[in-house]
Amino acid sequence: MTLIHFLLLLFLIVCAFFVGRTKDLLSAVIVFSAYSLTMALLWQQLASPDVAITEAAIGAGVTTLLLFAAISRTRRME
């Protein structure tokens, strides 16, 4: 486990906590998107490029878009 792994993991944990604490769903989704991209980076660091590409496209792309769409049709604040 190298320093970059540690930093990325730390960022992931911070993102996850922020999602848990914030009242604003929109910012939660944006942070979740950052979380997914960081996850993709981490997987790239762990030598799994296939998973990284898929996570970047599906986790950071489609899931975020779906969440945005759902929030735009419901309410923004918790």
Binding site: M1, S48, D50, V51
Partner: protein, 89 residues
Amino acid sequence: MMRTALEIVTLVVIGLLLVLVVREMPPFGDPTNPVHNEVSEFYLENTQDETGVQNVVAAIITDYRGFDTLGELTVLLTAIAGLLAVLRS
């Protein structure tokens, strides 16, 4: 307030238990771990000869474990059918 405290206590207890577990897990990144057994070696050594592709992960998802992928396509199809059924009703 009571509930939050209870949740935090539960999570911390689970977390402490997990710390114990994690301490004895196979070391991270060690090439002698149980997972790096003959199965992964077989995949890495024989994929080119047996399936004719270079990306071993692609060979696993579409050939060695192709049935999982069929299940996965079914998951997508189910999600769509369920979503449309719910939204159109």
